[in-house]
Symmetry: C2
Subunit: 307 residues, 2 copies
Amino acid sequence: MRCKPLAFALSLSLAIGTVSAAEPAKPAKVPSMQEILDASPASDWRTLDPDRTLYLQLPTGRVVIELAKAFAPNHVANISTLATEKYWDGLSVIRSQDNYVVQWGDPTDDDKSQQKKPIGSAKPHLPAEFERKATGLPFVQLKDSDGWAPQVGFVDGFPAARDPKTDTAWLTHCYGMVGAGRDVAADSSDGTSLYVVTGQSPRMLDRNITLVGRVVQGIELLSVLPRGTGPLGFYEKPEQYVPIVSSRLARDVPEKDRTQLQLLRTDSKTFATIVESRRNRRDDWYKRPAGHIDLCNVPLPVRTPKS
Amino acid sequence: MRCKPLAFALSLSLAIGTVSAAEPAKPAKVPSMQEILDASPASDWRTLDPDRTLYLQLPTGRVVIELAKAFAPNHVANISTLATEKYWDGLSVIRSQDNYVVQWGDPTDDDKSQQKKPIGSAKPHLPAEFERKATGLPFVQLKDSDGWAPQVGFVDGFPAARDPKTDTAWLTHCYGMVGAGRDVAADSSDGTSLYVVTGQSPRMLDRNITLVGRVVQGIELLSVLPRGTGPLGFYEKPEQYVPIVSSRLARDVPEKDRTQLQLLRTDSKTFATIVESRRNRRDDWYKRPAGHIDLCNVPLPVRTPKS
């Protein structure tokens, strides 16, 4: 008998599940993630706000980024200015480090001998936005333990952590999270150089660098880029750079050209159901439900609205 | 002032560190990971065993996999037979799912109407090897907590978990780990279809599928492959398949053509120093040491021996 490799992972089909390998098989209809989503009310979904949606247009397609204004208001404001003034147009993806990050910005950024692209009316200096006051945030806490933070969960679709002792909250470095590159000084990022996590969540970066948002569509256009052969995965030759066609806020793009997306609300009942269905997989492929889910393993469903 | 994006991550340069943002800066020479490795004695390194090293030769280069005989003896034996009998030659990488896995094997595996490639003298049926007895294993435990298992650590270079209550141990789904695809039945894998983790560690798969080894070099040849557009990231058209030139045990390759690699012993003092240096980053870029490291964030250093 040969194995069928299709069966594991995000099975979209209906499954007749056993509870666990140790218990007797109880045939029970376990809804798949897709079935849970299909049964969700429209009110459990939200539409991306064009004022805080950034497009990164590459030759291969569009990456859609939701900006986290509640956590990094100064960076998001600067990034918005840079996008509106077409700062990134003609700049490049300059780094792809395996199991870590892809980064884009001005290729001459680190070369003091070269003329940098002017940043227009964007601010040359911003405060570090590593964490903020937790009070006032709609923090949906996961019950699961986390090695890096006292509490983890979601705030309006973003993975986040919270420390009740200090009343602080911060965004976390999960796959797809976007941050602002900086120099040694904590407040040396200005939003011109952005990176996205494309590997095992580097949570040691949490509260060490300003996260500004999350890729909600098109991450695979960045994650497959050839790894750079220079130190830290930087490309060594200009011909390796991947050109940025343009980068714009959705609000600056004609409505007909915007990417229409809906995101499952992380404070919805449907989301809670999804989390539990992933914490303990009960379809017939899984023999042992894990009883745990890591913050960065929680899926954040996105869909294209029916037209 | 503009940001320099080079500064974060695996800094190889010497750093003058502050202890944390909350404490006064104490200029202290903090050795980098590279300096720790450079200072290590030769006895802290081991050479790959040609009997349990599998090469996966792609048109773009060679992926080197160390097989985990101690955890999956039956699968490793079958994989060895398949490699020696050239089973994978001319087969393909058939799946690349973003933030999850890349998989290779017989493209016709899931199509009952097609003739499958014969498996020669390999066994058509193997036991599931999800876990084993912990007693007798040289388990080097991390002091860090883990949400998925009572204890985590390393066994001879492989990330692993242990449950002292049941005296069991198992390999864990960290980035680069290689497993044997299976159908719904726990014992339906035969080692012909293999996958490698290329995203956030899917630890919910632990003890649900047989892990057989780990990529120790060349993961970037797999992780950049275009994502498949079919369900679960399977390629939909034969022209999307990436051909496997050959797959061989190192022992079956002339010595001059083998990839010479040394791996840092995970039971060495140098490894313990590396883990602590990554658990609490004290170079001048990091403002807040994390005080924690996740099992799947621990680097497993590999080097090419000086000739």
